[in-house]
């Protein structure tokens, strides 16, 4: 097991290098010269040349990439072209906000999908199963930008329960922070729950047809124990795989919900960086989110062994 963990971890390195190269080369295509973005329109040619030299833009691209990558692995992403702020500081401020909304969304997804998925799987083809599956279809087809607007129409404009936009940090005011997180997290979480419900139901249907379930029932175990301790436990592997995919959806979806609800997280930072041609900031945001995905995929792979001790890693 430890050997597998080390080997699986080492596999992240080449993918991370490829990801970093793709991020660097892709974002170099961003229209506009970063030196011009820094100095404004019609800069003096000597000053422009100086800034280009300072930023290293006069050197070959592969040299620029290796220098950038060397700085990145030491935690130095450079400075924002627009604000002059170190990119790492901006990421440190924004990442916890996205994490808070993402984790709340994941929690909402699980709270909704676990009971519904297990029940639907256990009562396959019943009326309630059909209703649950139709609702899952409907929720899966609702785009987050439309769902977010619908939630604002319901909770902010009609019921006046929640503010339509804005974010409060939990260190400032915990209650206001929870209130400001609900709608963005619900927007992301509902979409995610649709996929999870279908996966959990499908896993439960597969597991409940196995012989060991008949044995468990024959032993006189309660239906609740059979469903949760036997069927669900064994059906968790595909669910965890989907959960890993959901993290990517949450990180990507953050771009939309943070834009709708004016939340100062990674998604909104990415949009600002791209619109303002802030190359170091854009590179930092994309690389950190991609690295987060790699870590999540790693954790998902490792978790299989804990969920099912029969799995042998070679």
């Amino acid at each position: 097991m430890p050997q597998y963990v080390i080997r699986r971890f080492l596999l992240i390195i080449p993918v991370f290098i490829l990801v970093s190269f793709l991020v660097y080369s892709l974002l170099l295509l961003l229209p506009g010269d970063p030196a011009v973005a820094l100095l404004g329109e019609n800069p003096e040619p000597e000053r422009l040349e100086q800034i280009r030299r300072d930023l290293g833009l006069d050197r070959p691209i592969y040299v620029q990439y290796f220098e950038w990558f060397y700085r990145v692995i030491r935690g130095d992403f450079g400075h924002s072209i627009q604000t002059g702020e170190p990119v790492v500081e901006a990421l440190k401020q924004r990442f916890p906000v996205t994490l808070q909304i993402g984790l709340t969304a994941l929690l909402i997804s699980l709270i909704i999908s676990l009971p519904i998925g297990v029940y639907s799987g256990a009562k396959r083809n019943s009326f309630s199963d059909h209703i649950a599956m139709i609702l899952a279809y409907f929720t899966a087809a609702l785009p987050s930008f439309f769902l977010g607007i619908l939630l604002i129409l319901i909770f902010s404009i009609s019921l006046r329960w929640l503010a339509p936009a804005g974010y409060v940090s939990p260190t400032e005011d915990l209650w206001l922070s929870i209130k400001s997180t609900i709608m963005p997290a619900l927007t992301l979480g509902l979409g995610g729950s649709a996929v999870l419900v279908r996966q959990i139901r499908s896993s439960m249907v597969d597991e409940l047809s196995q012989d060991y379930i008949r044995t468990a029932r024959a032993k006189g175990l309660s239906e609740f124990t059979v469903l949760t301790r036997h069927a669900l436990r064994n059906g968790l592997i595909p669910v965890v795989t989907v959960l890993g995919v959901q993290v990517g959806y949450l990180l990507g979806g953050a771009v939309i919900v943070e834009t709708i609800f004016a939340v100062p997280g990674m998604g909104r930072l990415a949009v600002f960086a791209f619109f303002q041609r802030d190359l170091p900031m854009a590179q930092g945001v994309v690389l950190v989110t991609a690295a987060a995905m790699l870590v999540v995929n790693f954790v998902v792979d490792i978790s299989y062994r804990f969920l099912d001790p029969r799995i042998q890693y070679r």
């Binding site: 080449p14 993918v15 490829l18 990801v19 793709l22 991020v23 892709l26 974002l27 295509l29 961003l30 229209p31 279809y137 409907f138 899966a140 087809a141 609702l142 785009p143 987050s144 930008f145 439309f146 607007i149 619908l150 604002i152 129409l153 404009i157 339509p164 979409g191 995610g192 649709a194 996929v195 279908r198 996966q199 499908s202 989907v242 995919v245 959901q246 990517g248 959806y249 990180l251 990507g252 979806g253 771009v255 939309i256 834009t259 709708i260 998604g267 990415a270 949009v271 791209f274 619109f275 854009a282 945001v285 994309v286 989110t289 991609a290 995905m293 790699l294 995929n297």
Partner: protein
């Protein structure tokens, strides 16, 4: 042609027996008709501004009201379907045209070529989808071409991996071994013997990806990186309605409901096709 249509009949019959898939097919057909005949269905010029009649509620004159520039929302929704359909179909076509050969080569070739192609595909999958789409669309500048390329790049690894996995399984079958033993070239084996046998999952995934492409196009337009104004797109209309939610709540519903309905219909149709073509395939989608 006759043989092709006769071959399609069991598929059409199976989809026809699935009520949800039938509903999906009907909605998709309706959207295609609306997109093709938009000039005949729209009641107004979608770009014509009327400052004296801005933000009007739905009425006989303006079926879905007017927007902040006095433009007819119904006509913009009708014309918006053209953009949506065009971007979605072009993206899926591009993703399959590049992804299928890559998957076939990766699956049929040796270990190293397979590993090389698949690691690049893994790299593309390592990005959160919308972040990668954002990076590509902003690098190329907003527009039809950049939206199509951004969405295709996201679809590329999905099709390449799917085709690679199917090819790995088909290439071990006896008829492929027989073709090899009589001296068929690698190209002939892949094109004539393997490719026709991996098309079912491609049809299913391609249909489902059209729904995903519609969501992505709308998301890019919503952020401001899709097709630039004044051409109407559903995502852009949703974004433009945002400041008027308080007093004109119908504005976001007009483009939002069509996006929802089309994606729902495509998901129904895709799942119906999956059940008809390959019941063992289980799709797990995630939306934007």
């Amino acid at each position: 042609m006759r043989e092709f249509l006769v071959g399609l009949w069991p598929l059409i019959k199976s989809v026809g027996q699935n009520r949800l898939a039938l509903f999906g097919a009907a909605v998709v057909f309706l959207v295609a008709v609306v997109a093709i005949f938009a000039p005949f269905i729209a009641t107004h010029d979608p770009l014509a501004q009327d400052p004296y009649n801005k933000l009007q509620p739905p009425s006989i004159e303006h079926l879905m009201g007017t927007d902040d520039l006095g433009r007819d929302v119904f006509s913009r929704v009708v014309y918006g379907s053209r953009t949506t359909v065009a971007v979605a179909i072009t993206s899926v076509a591009l993703a399959t045209v590049v992804g299928i050969p890559l998957g076939l080569v990766a699956g049929y070739s040796g270990r190293w070529i397979n590993a090389g192609i698949m690691r690049v595909m893994d790299t593309l999958l390592a990005f959160p989808t919308l972040i990668l789409a954002l990076a590509i669309a902003s690098s190329l500048g907003p527009g039809f071409k950049s939206s199509v390329i951004a969405i295709s790049v996201l679809g590329l690894p999905i099709f390449a991996r799917l085709v690679c996995a199917s090819t790995l399984s088909v290439k071990e079958t006896e008829y492929v071994l027989a073709a090899k033993s009589i001296g068929c070239s690698g190209f002939r084996i892949v094109a004539i013997h393997i490719f026709p046998n991996v098309t079912s999952p491609i049809i299913v995934q391609g249909t489902l990806f059209i729904g995903y492409a519609i969501l992505l196009e709308a998301a890019l337009s919503f952020i401001g990186l899709g097709i630039p104004p004044p051409s109407p797109t559903w995502g852009q209309m949703l974004r433009a309605s945002y400041p008027y939610l308080q007093d004109q709540p119908w504005l976001p519903l007009a483009p939002g409901i069509p996006v929802f309905l089309v994606v729902l219909a495509i998901n129904f149709l895709g799942d119906g096709l999956r059940d008809a073509l390959d019941p063992k395939l289980k799709s797990v989608r995630h939306v934007v």
